[in-house]
Each structure stands twice: as structure tokens, then as C-alpha cells.
């Protein structure tokens, strides 16, 4: 059951219990909603974008530990990043979650987000970890509709 420990690392359990930036952002100028029909994960993501830079980000929602920790750690990683940097980070996260990343040569830029590397061993849980990121993309592209990872 070593892979379960890989999946539910302390950092993830901590962010699940005490999600960071877990609040509505009153001065947000970007907002999007995401929904994972498989397990009912639901997120509203708020972004404050100034001159193409994410200056603040917050979220509300309910869902599993992987989803909540992923959203929480994402909000921490985003502050101060430009739209392009955020998009590039999502690409890397996505590669890690789907097991396409070579851990020896890539992944250094991921920082704390590397705690999700165990998710690729649990294919049905990848959607839980990507929901917040898909919702971020929708918020930055200002797509009005509800995002689904289905």
C-alpha cells in the first residue's frame, strides 16, 4: 500500500484539512466554475488579474482531498505569475499527473506541486487533481460556462 502513501502525502492531507486561499475574492475580475460529475467536486475560482499578472486568487467549493489540496496548492503557486507562466505551469502539472514527465530531467519548477506525482498511479483520480487547473484556464480565458472535466 506504498502507493496510497504516495497519493495521500502529508502536504495533501494538510491542504485538504486547511485549504489556503479558501474564500471568495471580493475584488476578483475573473471568475469561473468547475464541476466534476464523477465525484461531485465543485469549485468557484476567483482571480484578480492586473496587467496580465495574477495578483490574487481564491476558491470556494467541495470535493475530495485530491481536488481540494490541488486547488489550494494551485492558488499558492499562482500568485505573481503572468497568464503565460500560469499556462506553462499547468502544462507541466498536467504532464506530471498523466505520467508523461521524466522525473530525472523535468519537474524541478513544480515545487510543492510535485506532491501530486503519485496521482498518475491512480488514473481515475487525475480529473480530481486537474479540475482546479481547468477552471483556472477558463477563468483566464474568461469563458463564461461551467467547466467540466468529463
Amino acid at each position: 500500500m506504498a502507493d496510497l502513501k504516495e497519493l495521500y502525502q502529508q502536504v495533501i492531507l494538510d491542504h485538504n484539512k486547511h485549504p489556503r486561499n479558501f474564500h471568495k475574492l471580493e475584488d476578483a475580475n475573473r471568475k469561473a466554475e468547475g464541476f466534476n460529475a464523477l465525484c461531485g467536486d465543485r469549485i468557484t475560482l476567483y482571480v484578480r488579474l492586473e496587467n496580465d499578472v495574477i495578483t490574487d486568487v481564491g476558491f470556494e467549493g467541495t470535493g475530495c482531498a485530491i481536488f481540494k489540496a490541488s486547488a489550494s496548492l494551485m492558488t499558492q503557486a499562482l500568485k505573481g505569475k503572468t497568464k503565460a507562466e500560469a499556462a506553462a505551469l499547468f502544462d507541466k502539472v498536467h504532464k506530471m499527473l498523466t505520467g508523461e514527465m521524466n522525473p530525472n530531467t523535468e519537474g524541478n519548477e513544480l515545487g510543492k506541486l510535485a506532491v501530486f506525482s503519485g496521482v498518475c498511479e491512480f488514473p481515475v483520480r487525475v480529473k480530481c487533481a486537474t479540475l482546479a487547473w481547468h477552471t483556472l484556464r477558463a477563468a483566464l480565458e474568461a469563458k463564461p460556462e461551467v467547466v467540466s472535466t468529463e
Binding site: M1, D3, L4, L7, Y8, L13, K17, L38, C39, G40, D41, R42, T62, G63, C64, A65, I66, F67, F122, V124, R125, C128
Partner: protein
Amino acid sequence: MRTAGEMLASAAAESPAGGFDVRKIRDDFPALRQQLYGRPLVYLDNAATTQKPRVVLEAMRGFYERDCANIHRGVHLLSERATQAYEDARIKIQHFLNAALAREIIFVRGATEGINLVAQTYGRANLRAGDEVLITAMEHHSNIVPWQIVCEEKGAVLRVAPMNDQGELLLEEFESMLTPRTKFVSLVHVSNALGTVNPVRELIALAHRRNVPVLIDGAQAVPHLKVDVQELGCDFYVFSGHKLFGPTGIGVLYGKESLLEAMPPYQGGGDMISSVTFEKTTYNSLPYKFEAGTPNIAGTIGLGAAIDYVNQVGLEAAAAHEREVLEYATAAVSRLPGVRLIGTAREKAAVLSFVMEGIHAHDAGTILDRQGIAVRTGHHCAMPVMERFGVPATTRASFAFYNTKEEVEALVAGIHKVLEVFR
């Protein structure tokens, strides 16, 4: 953790009271013998689908290896054999439900298609603007959405009878919602998310007193209790083969002959006609009027074999065993710290739905899976039920007659592991 052999040995110790021998039954199911992640499979997702006994697999294989032909249209021997086997299955189902007539048994893809058929034929032909269709708060999406579709088209209103905090239908509320505008009642026999067994005979009688026809969704009922459609008095009854140890893609709609006769056809095509010209088509008689196109012949034969198997096991003995397992599981799981049962009706069948404080069902499901325990996590296609209980999702263990108390113990150990990870 026990080995598979030890589990089977202890399963045998569960005494074959009244001739019910769970070990012998388990031997009939090839899928139950396997290991997952190096542990014996503990299959507790029977409300989603059941495993199949060898006799079902052999019946389907026998059809494809020996009797494969289309039905009702060949003069050759194989077609005759296939037709015979297909129609034999219909008669088995007629007896299984105690329907008055074999032609009241319509083969469909599953309970979902059965409900859609009634909504799209009876519903479209009979509902008018302002009419009401009454369902309950514990319906599966398959008994909500088909009625929403036809109500929207016809300007009719879908009304929902409420339930209490135990997941029991409120009978007085139900009765008060039967008004002169109510034109149809469609309700679940056994709730898939809560396990509640509804007093359908009484509910049907209430509706019939006002001349309102009733459809019963029996998908979760037929594997657990004896159903007699004449005794219930229902106008329609639907179920799915795959939840009754049969194959997927085959199910049954029972309907009273007089209603089926009056209904327009569902789909057009071959087999549902008696004559076709470009000007006019005369529809075939029952049940073929509702069976357009080449049906799921192998699935039907498999379902017939499943019903033979269930009859051989004996639903009453099976139900008694399941009740013991459910009571054992209910007591054990409700004792666990931070665990709350969702669905605590006095009359329940084979379903144990629960939530764990601070732990999402999906996380619990993943951790249980890695211990070889298959449960369902999520909203169980009953999102309004989740909303009613204020939870996004539940973990659901659902039992069949091949489950054992040892498997319940494995589940309890598995939940302890979940609690440990999230401690």
C-alpha cells in the same frame, strides 16, 4: 488479511441454513475468485451491477456457438432454435413476475429504456398541459429525466413526494399530492442510494383509488425480494437484467395488456409490424409492437438463465441471508468513529450508504479499492437524494446473496484504513 482460501473456508462456516450455502453459491461465480492488488476481491457494488454465474455465461456462449440466428423470420432450424430460446426466456420472466400473460413482457435494454418507453408512448399520448406526474424524492435519475422531458414537451408538471430524514417516503404527503390533475405515478420499489423498500402495494392502491396508473422501477428490487405484479397491482414494472445476475443490455418492461394495447409504438422498424406499404403500416401484436429491430437475443437468453439460477437459489432464502449480512454490516459500520449512515429506513434491502466526517467518499473509495474492496462512491445517479441529505456524495456498499459476513469484516478493516490515512 485473510487469504482467499481462508475467506472461502470461513464463508462455508456460515451455516447453510435452510439449504442456503453461500460457499457453494460463490463457486458458481468465476469473477468472485480473483485477487486485486494481491488481495481477494470483496465485491460490494452489486447495486451498480452484479457478477454473473457460470450458467449465464454458458447459456450465452451456447447461443453463439450452436443456435446463432435471427429470430421470428427464418424457416431454418437455427432460427427456430433461437426463436424458441428467446420466447422461452419471456415465459420465464412472465412466471418470475407472475404476469398474467407472456405478451405483457417487453424486452428492452434495461430499466432506463423501460421507463423511457412508457414516458414516450403512454406519457406523450395521455399527458396534457397542466397535468401532473408524481414521482418521489428518492428516484434514480432514470425515473426523473424521462418524465421531465415529456412534461416539458406537454406543459405538464412533475411533482415530487418528499421523504423523512431516515429516507422513508411520507405517505400522507404522497397521498395529498395525488390530485385530480395527477395523470401518472412513477416510483421506485427499492432506492438504489438509500436501500429503502417502499410500500408499493399501498402506494399503488392509493393511486388506483383515483384511477391513476402506476409504474414501479424495480431495478433494485428484483434481486432481493419476490415480486408479483398481479398482487402489487402495478400497471408497469421495469427492471434490468444485469442487476439480477444476467448480462448487460437486456431488461424488462412489464405492462398490463390493456394499457400496452392502447399505447402507440415506441420505435419503428422490423418485427414490430404486421404489414408495411408506403401508405400505411399495420403494427404487430403484443409484445412485438414494442420490439423493433433485431433484439439482444443472447442477452435475453442469458437473462432467462439468470432467472433459472435465481429460482434455484431461492429468493426467500437469499433474502434472509442478505438481511443477516446487511444487519451485521449496519451494526459494524455505524459503530465506527465519525461514520454516519445515509438511509436508515425501517424497511431496507441490501444497501449501506454512509459518509465519513471530513473524508470525501471518493478518497474512501480509492483507499478501499487498493484493499481489493469494490464499493460505489459518488451521487449514485440520485443527485436530488444527495441534496436532500446535504452531502455531495456517499460511499455505498451494496450486497448480493453471494456476499458474506467475512466480507463485511474486510470492509470494516478497510474503513479503519481510510480513517488511519486521514487521521
